[in-house]
Symmetry: C2
Subunit: 419 residues, 2 copies
């Protein structure tokens, strides 16, 4: 066994042992640890910033671009954000131990379900060091042990944050190995982390599409993954057009780089002439490029022709594809064919069509008369999110504390036997 | 592309298309299809038995053993069982479309969740042809499309059942490809079925450990899997010993070959002398071999020494391992180390210890004062089960209709935009 094999094996064993203790930790212990972590971070601002300075200097030397350096920076405002996040997670209801559906069965036994932690969660992420704190807090509150593998460019910052996390765990009497930050930048560590089903119950990759696709392909452990967000809005011919204009402009332009941003607009033929020219004007003001099907192009001054590839594209940029469709059926068929299954919205005042859209569109979030930008753990009331799942099994949509837990069956008898 | 590649690709595409229609099928359509299938089977008893005779003859020629031939036989009683099963599934509540947790958020939007089918389910099973009917009915009722791959030794029986299923689907106006039975015995079909994430959302293998382990290792699609059932009972020193004796004997001897059968008994030191000799007498009457730790062996006349390997064994036979433990902590530690995570029970009258056992034992079913033999979809009130999951993600324990569905978020606004 090589050094790195032995090292990851040790982390895995320690995490598994810690997860047993974490599953039995009380809510008050977990909250005390979160608040003690916040205190430790607040007390270590200078230490954190000097560690971060080492990473930034190395990054500049390596020629990282401005956007990468920005993500890497632990500014005072971002440290404040970490403190705020920890106290928010402490305030969330503890999902562990919740018992539901207890019912007597004809045999006389009572059967119900109890919510329990998943066990050990591996998080693999890229440059932002504040993810270390965020991910640790969610795993801890949900009663799991965590192994965190951040980007090598943030190694000093992550280790400084890890020290604060350790102090928080110790202050609350929780096991030191409940949160472990991988201390090597050896890339083999990732391959090992995703191949230890005996020690790791689930992997959550956070980062670019390339990272997530690579991990999903290679993992021997279940992955809660988020791939593309090719989100659609369909303007029905029974839409309130004022709502439609507002929502479409908001969904596209409020932020361009997020996964819940509108990327493809469908418009019912019957209202295309009334809505498209006005949209062209508004999008021109925002500098959004329109890529249109032939039938809508004539109503969109300045639009360029859309290619087949455009219908499947997540631009993450001021670009929008536009297509006219004859009716709701065509809109649903288009979405179920091209969408990545993230978030889709219909704009309509027609009750039955809204119901059909909600039922028949196969995406993790389906909306009526609301902006796709609402698809987010905070907006949904989950308190925080570890990611947005476009998978169907286990967790779908924004994943909060509940997505880091499972349910086991509990059975209560009084000497009952099966006959 | 080879013939078999092209064939499986076609099945996959057809299943995906059918799954869209199935997701929108009404409850009454689905129930009508189930009852029409039952009628078709009832009308085809002769056809089914002559097809089955072909399989049995081929099996005898191939030298299948008596147990295999028995599993393969479609007796009149088993055909009755299929009819009964179909009408039971028709009577179950439809899980699809259930909306839960709708709440207003501070932004003004309403957010909730809707239960939806998973999409396309691949079932891979061995000799029992009645699984074809059972699996089809559960996938259909939960709004999914199914691709069924039975054992090659049951190919004629499975095709005859598939014809009845098709007639049922047609009678209810549901898509013909909602249930497809793989018509080739080429083993490459299994490898292809588990490697088409674009067409198949989840694989459920049903059969021996070898089959399940092989599929889990090779699948590129999520697998709902059930591995070992190494189930434990712990007799606490605060147990009612009459209940303890009854439950332990029932859990071990009611059936030897099932996954919820007791395989390993833990006894608190303080009651070992009072309970073990009596258990030895009762198990001797049942012809159960006891494999004991040194401390319990002296109290169990006729017991043989247990090896380290015995603690992890699923015997599926009249054999039981027995170990003395000092207390509850030791019992929980032993279980969490050696158990396969299927089902464990504590026998105790102590409330706080029962609560700790329920909370801290990390298995899919955890019981107090009840026989492990209750761990079963019918006993739990799920109506039917497609398997028992020992995984933690998605479905844990007996998997019924709900385990074949997922939840998406639904959001309702009235022109709401994010600011």
């Amino acid at each position: 066994m090589s050094d790195i094999d032995a090292y990851m094996n040790r982390l895995g064993k320690q995490a598994r042992a810690a997860s047993r203790l974490m599953a039995a930790a009380t809510t008050s212990q977990k909250n005390a640890a979160l608040l003690a972590m916040a205190d430790a971070i607040d007390d270590s601002r200078e230490r954190l910033q000097s560690a971060n300075e080492l990473d930034l200097a190395a990054g500049r030397e390596k020629g990282l671009d401005a956007a990468m350096l920005d993500r890497l920076a632990l500014t005072p405002a971002r440290i404040d954000g970490m403190l705020e996040g920890l106290s928010q997670v402490a305030a969330l209801q503890d999902p562990v131990g919740e018992v539901t559906d207890m019912r007597y069965r004809p045999s006389g036994i009572q059967v119900g379900r109890m919510r329990v932690p998943l066990g050990v969660i591996g998080i693999i992420y890229e440059s932002r060091p504040n993810v270390t704190c965020e991910a640790a807090s969610l795993c801890l509150k949900s009663g799991n042990a965590a192994i965190l593998r951040g980007g090598s460019e943030a190694i000093h910052s992550n280790q400084a944050i890890a020290e604060c996390i350790s102090r928080g765990l110790a202050a609350a009497g929780l096991p030191a190995h409940a949160v472990q930050v991988v201390e090597t930048t050896d890339r083999a560590a990732v391959g090992l982390l995703i191949s230890m089903p005996e020690f790791v119950d689930v992997i959550v990759p956070r980062g670019g599409k390339g990272l997530i696709a690579r991990i999903s392909a290679d993992a021997r452990v279940p992955v809660i993954k988020h791939l593309d967000g090719n989100c659609h809005v369909y303007i029905d011919d029974k839409a309130d057009l004022d709502k439609a204009l507002q929502i479409v402009v908001n969904a596209k332009t409020q932020r361009y780089g997020t996964c819940n941003t509108l990327e493809s607009l469908l418009v019912a033929d019957a209202v295309a002439e009334r809505v498209l020219p006005e949209l062209a004007t508004r999008f021109a003001e925002h500098g959004v490029e329109l890529r249109a099907c032939p039938q809508s192009q004539e109503l969109l001054p300045g639009a360029v022709p859309a290619s087949e590839q455009d219908w499947g594209e997540e631009y993450l940029a001021p670009v929008l594809s536009v297509r006219r469709v004859p009716d709701l059926d065509a809109a649903i068929a288009h979405i179920n064919q091209y969408s990545s299954g993230h978030t889709e919205a219909i704009i309509t005042e027609d009750f039955s069509r809204a119901q059909r859209f909600l039922r028949e569109v196969d995406s993790s979030s389906v909306m009526v008369n609301a902006s796709t930008r609402f698809a987010d753990g905070f907006e949904y009331g989950l308190g925080a999110e570890i990611g947005i799942s476009t998978d169907k099994l286990h967790a779908r949509g924004p994943v909060g504390l509940e997505g880091l837990t499972s349910q086991k069956y509990i059975v209560i008898g009084d000497g009952h036997i099966r006959t």
